[in-house]
Amino acid sequence: MRSKLNAESAKMKVKYIPVAFGFLLFAFGFQHCLNKKSDSNISPASSVKQQQYYVHGEQLYIKHCSNCHQKNGTGLGLLYPPLAKSDYVDKNFESVICLMRYGVEGELIVNGKNFNKAMPGISSLSNLEIAEIATYVYNTWGHQRDSIELKDVSRILGNCKQTPITK
């Protein structure tokens, strides 16, 4: 009788091994999710409007920019300059705003390296969309500029000197 009981309990234990294993996996997965670091540096204290800009900006970035500049902003070789760690992005806010709409061509020095491939402008982007993309780019990958106002972006766009580059 006793040995039968022991056998039963052993069976039960064996049965629980996969279950316990499953739980363990789940726990690891869960922890992994929690540990997942976001690249966002936008301050939690920023306004709801700014947070919205950021979220829309990320979607627009993925759609219009990430093919070349990559999702993580590292660029590609000497073809497409990086945005993530980029002295050009850091120092030329107004040019960055303008080139989204009008494009840019000729030599461009980024982090001491020479880039020279024309970037066509995206004329379909509205002022608001450009402000949103800027909010994303300037608050991700170590950048932290926080508040980017539509009225400032509109003013900058009104003063751009470039002629549109299409190819």
Binding site: A7, A10, K13, V14, N67, Q70, L76, Y80, K117
Partner: protein
């Protein structure tokens, strides 16, 4: 006593089945498929092969089938001014390049589908900026007609002009794996990392076929 015996038995079974499974997987590795129509002539099966071609690469060197004699190669179609899928394809092809850099019998071939704009000089600059060697990765240009024809009839890849598209062309983002007998052995979506992972594995599998 009974307890530990049961556990031992279960463990033994698990080890045994794991061994069994792994040995099955080893044996099951079938050769890669051969794409396209095949015809049987007499006792021989004739497979679809890449037609003869003659293009010019980024060093102004003439590139023909002979360039790829006794080589495995990966082919694709792109153009340098493309903003849509090409940069992603080139990011992925660069991974392929990195993985086969030191393998003398594997090459890469990228055809421009905008050959009038993509001159030798432009392709040279492009390859240099990508940081790749021209004897490993050929970027070719030629007559538009020839390139579109070989894309569609030899590589089964879409390539054509379409003014309605944002960049003026439609083309597939496919990477084609070609064996040493000019046959297509794999087709991969060059815009998807996982598909390119499969390509990396299958290049090695194809190499093994010739190692025998």
């Amino acid at each position: 006593m009974v307890n530990s015996n049961v556990v031992k038995l279960v463990m033994l079974l698990m080890v045994a089945s794991a061994l069994l499974l792994s040995s099955c997987a080893e044996k099951k590795e079938a050769p890669l498929p051969i794409f396209g129509e095949k015809e049987v002539e007499g006792g021989d099966t004739i497979y679809h092969t890449i037609a003869d071609f003659k293009f010019v690469d980024q060093d102004s060197a003439v590139v023909t089938n002979d360039t790829f004699k006794d080589k495995i190669y990966v082919a694709d179609f792109f153009f340098t001014s493309c903003r849509t899928i090409c940069p992603i394809m080139k990011t992925q092809m660069l991974r392929v390049y990195d993985s086969i850099q030191n393998e003398p019998d594997v090459l890469l071939l990228s055809h421009s589908i905008d050959p009038e704009y993509d001159t030798v000089g432009l392709l040279h600059d492009y390859a240099e900026r990508l940081g790749v060697k021209s004897n490993k990765w050929h970027f070719v240009t030629g007559s538009k007609e020839d390139i579109y024809k070989i894309a569609q009839t030899s590589y089964f890849a879409t390539a054509m002009e379409d003014k309605a598209e944002p960049d003026g062309f439609i083309h597939s983002g496919a990477f084609l794996l070609i064996d040493k007998n000019k046959r297509i052995r794999g087709k991969y979506d060059g815009t998807k990392e996982e598909d390119v992972n499969r390509l990396l594995v299958e290049i090695q599998r194809l190499k093994k076929e010739y190692a025998k």
